[in-house]
Symmetry: C2
Subunit: 188 residues, 2 copies
DNA sequence: GCACGACTATACAGATCGGTATATCGATGG
DNA sequence: CCATCGATATACCGATCTGTATAGTCGTGC
């Protein structure tokens, strides 16, 4: 395992600044000087806390992933507990997330586009989220009692991924309700 | 309009090298020195032909877009001409394209992740392809005689986008046949 | 009172970034 | 025969990149 980070107040400020900048402009497009400046911190502090830019990238993706899971959970719990209701709630949550935090699409997909080396420590984080979402949809499809849950789970996953990237590019008016309608039809 | 490019043999070599590198590693991660070296050319030649890296990016995306449209056309013409057959052929073509050229997903989506400025000259190229694909799917849905062609066209578009990004990340075994099955179900 | 941890400020390293300059070469074609 | 064109080699520009080094400030806890 990599060494734990000492989460001093300024460390949080650095990660916050890095997250905003990475997501908005892309990882390679943002230098550590800019991150430090935005955080109101010197580069020294940044390197004392995180050790490298790469580590900062991993923390950015890890934190955003766990925020997304908490956010999703907050939408699933109060929603209609039936499988179909839960699927609808996922798309609702994604729409809300996109509105509040996701004007540039999925941070995992975007990061994946910028990282060429599969040995990069950010890879497990990215793949982990995708696998987790797929498992969620597959479980819901199974609970809904469809004939082939793995197949339908994949279909809903594809609709969801498509909606997320399309929302980031504003190619379709309201991709999440559109995807939700399609997902509902596939669960019949 | 921007000035036309003088397509000397070395200009083609430069674009070829740039395309491979941009797609494989990302745009910001590749410097013009590396492109020139890979093309067996000096930076002078690169700048004589293209004038700027930005222009090279635009040409990269434009060329890849037109290659994709030709590739797709080559798969649509000999396929079953029925609307459902044509939709299936699109997913077949995408699967073949991903196998041959698309190990890192959609170049348009990836480029979009790296370009923050909407005024960037590459934006129209990116949006143009997405709009074109959506129109294609909507037309096919209309030809298939579904009740709401715009809605179903969007659904198939979302499935396709999802399959492309998922293929780039290897999160699902065979996303294109999976997406094709779902699209076929939505056309019932 | 004093050590320690978190931080600031500044400077610098070595490499690479996009882009330009100068000068030279070989082939092609009027 | 000579001008032009595509290309070469090499060197340079200022800026920025990730990362390090030195020195000093400030507040808390023992």
């Amino acid at each position: 395992m990599s060494e734990a980070i000492d989460w001093t107040p300024k460390a949080h400020a650095v990660l916050q600044a890095a997250s905003d900048l990475f997501y908005e402009r892309g990882i390679h497009a943002v230098g550590v000087d800019v991150i430090a400046k935005r955080a109101g911190v010197t580069k020294k502090t940044l390197y004392d806390r995180f050790g490298s830019k790469e580590r900062l990238v991993v923390e950015y993706l890890t934190e955003r992933d766990s925020q997304w899971r908490r956010f999703l959970d907050g939408h699933l719990v109060p929603a209609d507990p039936s499988p179909r209701g839960q699927v609808a709630a996922v798309f609702n949550a994604s729409a809300a997330w996109a509105r509040e935090r996701g004007r540039k699409g999925c941070s995992m997909i975007n990061a994946h586009a910028e990282i060429s080396d599969p040995a990069h420590p950010a890879y497990p984080v990215i793949m982990g989220q995708k696998r987790w979402m797929l498992a969620l949809f597959t479980d819901l499809a199974a609970a809904a009692g469809v004939a082939d849950p793995r197949q339908v789970g994949e279909h809903i996953m594809l609709l969801h991924e498509g909606a997320v990237v399309t929302a980031g590019m504003r190619a379709i008016e309201d991709p999440f309700t559109s995807a939700a309608v399609a997902a509902s039809a596939l669960l019949e």
